[in-house]
């Protein structure tokens, strides 16, 4: 096999790996520069190896405060959006009702709207109502834009459910509540979990909508944005790297547990 035929046969793989590299390169840089000791206020040029930032991740004023605020908002937004979104998804799949088309568009539109439009219009509402911008306005906004994504995730799962399982439960004298709790909910759980994870990630990392509706409250993405203007501490790289590693470990643990279960069943 000549080099040319090998290249032709593996062109897709090579192009795919190039894209994968493009996607991962910034993470490599973020990790590398979490061990940097920059000279000036900005952490864009490599100077020398140091673990100072890892030893003192909260060493910058307001950094960990903004992080914990972001985590709190993401948690509450996830709970709110998952609850409301799951209810809508069940209504859409399981029931007939009027104005289904209108409901569908109302759920689709927030996903088809540039964030800056939603952000600006929501701020007009809050300004007109004279609302105090801060934690609550951020939370309201986050539940709003996470909701649609939860609906889509849960809907997909509930639609693929076999309705005969619930009929079987009822044939075995389970009441509606018992059927829901013991049969419907466990089967829908992966969809709900996927929706919740998505909501958490979206809320935690949101910048544009938060920036408009936060007032003087500072979430973690807003802290990073501010530091891009004032000077980037190495600590934001430490937190970015740590979150990446924790997330990958979680996923790997989930895969290992899933594989073990499969093997036990087999």
């Amino acid at each position: 096999m000549t080099v040319v035929t090998w290249l032709r046969r593996h062109l897709v793989v090579l192009a795919g790996l190039f894209t994968l590299g493009y996607l991962l390169l910034p993470n490599v840089v973020v990790t590398l520069f979490s061990f940097n000791k920059p000279k000036g206020r900005f952490n864009y040029e490599w100077q020398q190896f140091s673990t100072d930032a890892w030893k003192d991740p909260c060493g910058v004023a307001d950094l960990c405060g903004s992080l914990s605020l972001s985590l709190q908002i993401a948690l509450w937004a996830t709970i709110g959006a998952t609850l409301l979104g799951t209810m809508i998804a069940f209504a859409l799949v399981r029931y007939r009702f009027r104005a289904r088309g209108a409901v569908n568009s109302l759920i689709f539109l927030p996903m088809a709207m540039p964030e800056v439009v939603m952000a600006a219009s929501l701020l007009t509402l809050f300004l007109n109502l004279g609302a105090q911008l801060g934690f609550w306005t951020i939370l309201i906004a986050h539940i709003m834009f996470c909701l649609s994504f939860v609906v889509v995730a849960v809907k997909a799962r509930v639609m693929s459910m076999d309705p005969s399982l619930e009929q079987a439960a009822q044939d075995l004298y389970a009441g509606p509540v018992q059927t829901f709790l013991r049969v419907t909910l466990p089967i829908a759980a992966p969809g709900i979990a996927a929706g919740a994870l998505l909501a958490f990630a979206l809320s935690f990392d949101d910048f544009i909508i938060t920036n408009f509706n936060a007032g003087s409250t500072v979430t973690f993405p807003m802290f990073v944005w501010g530091s891009a203007q004032r000077g980037t501490p190495v600590q934001i790289n430490v937190i970015g790297t740590a979150m990446f590693v924790i997330a990958v470990l979680f996923v790997l643990a989930g895969m290992v547990i899933g594989n073990r279960r499969k093997r036990q069943k087999a």
Binding site: A15, V29, A91, P114, E115, L125, G240
Partner: protein, 308 residues
């Protein structure tokens, strides 16, 4: 023993839709109520407020009144049409680049990755967990003046081409349109890859074999079988990339310069710094209308209605 009793059980009858129970007729409305109310009050109503703000005149001190001052729209368009144009151009370029870069990777995951499929899929999603602002800032290091990436692009002659296209200036990449497009492409690439992968994964592999049996070359198989079948993924991927990219102002701000400002930058500045609410609302309204029209036309042309 008759063969009848040994025959496999007949397929379960198609699940019938349960007739709505009288008692539960209101259930769907109760389920919908809280979420729909939330979207009406915090998504739909703000649009109304925004439309109203865009035709108001006044000042911060004296307050605003609806005067149907439609000239705001005209003024906003004549003053900021370059930023509008730039948004469409940059977002368009980024979408095309995402498609070119994303398709091979989605194809790789769907057909070639074998047991590495889940690992590659995780690697595509994992960067999401590092805040996108931190990752976008990393591009400042990657594209730094005189750095290895810029050096390589320079010696490969890429910069000559982009200079000629007006995407870069001299031997700099940072603070040029190319840097902004590069950042936009990077940020929205997963939104292209995942829908592409979802539609590719559904394709029956036997269709590829059939095409091969009918003497189609791999390229013809791709052009006539694989690509048409992946159209739903292409359509939703391009929408999921183009829409957020056209409203984005983060990449233009962090990686660009004052010459690369997009419409998102203008809306943000007018709203949060200049505090010229009518102009900002008018700009945002125009952006929304433009996106909705483009999306509708595009979906009609592409012929896929079931995106959600």
């Amino acid at each position: 023993m008759s063969t009848l009793t040994e025959a496999p059980p007949p397929l379960a009858p198609a699940p019938e839709r349960k007739p709505p129970r009288r008692r539960g007729r209101l259930v769907p409305y109760w389920l919908l109520l809280p979420g729909i109310l939330w979207l009406l009050v915090f998504f739909a109503l703000p649009m109304v407020y925004q439309a109203s703000t865009s035709v108001q005149t006044g000042s911060l001190e004296e307050g605003y009144q609806v005067t149907w001052h439609l000239a705001t729209y005209w003024d906003a368009l004549t003053e900021y049409w370059p930023q509008f144009l730039r948004s469409v151009l940059y977002a368009g370029c980024a979408t095309v680049l995402c498609l070119i870069l994303g398709y091979p990777l989605a194809y790789l995951i769907a057909f070639r990755a074998g047991r590495w499929r889940n690992v590659v899929l995780i690697l595509v999603i994992a960067p999401f967990f590092t805040s996108f602002l931190i990752r976008t800032l990393a591009w400042k290091t990657i594209l730094a003046d005189g750095g290895p990436v810029v050096g390589a692009l320079n010696s490969l002659g890429v910069l000559d081409v982009t200079n000629w296209l007006g995407l870069t200036a001299g031997d700099r990449v940072l603070a040029t349109p190319l840097a902004v497009i590069c950042g936009l492409t990077y940020n929205f690439l997963p939104f292209m890859i995942l829908p592409l992968y979802a539609s590719l994964e559904r394709i029956d592999q036997r269709l590829h074999e059939a095409a091969g049996d009918l003497y189609a070359t791999p390229f013809t198989t791709f052009r006539r079988v694989t690509f048409p079948l992946s159209m739903p993924g292409v359509v939703s991927g391009t929408l999921l990339t183009f829409i957020p990219a056209s409203g984005d102002y983060v990449n233009a701000d962090l990686l660009g310069s004052t010459d690369t400002r997009m419409i998102g930058n203008v809306i943000q500045t007018q709203f949060l710094r200049v505090l010229d609410y009518p102009t900002a609302a008018a700009l945002s309204f125009i952006l929304m209308a433009a996106i909705l029209i483009m999306v509708t036309v595009y979906i009609r042309k592409a012929g896929t209605e079931d995106l959600v």
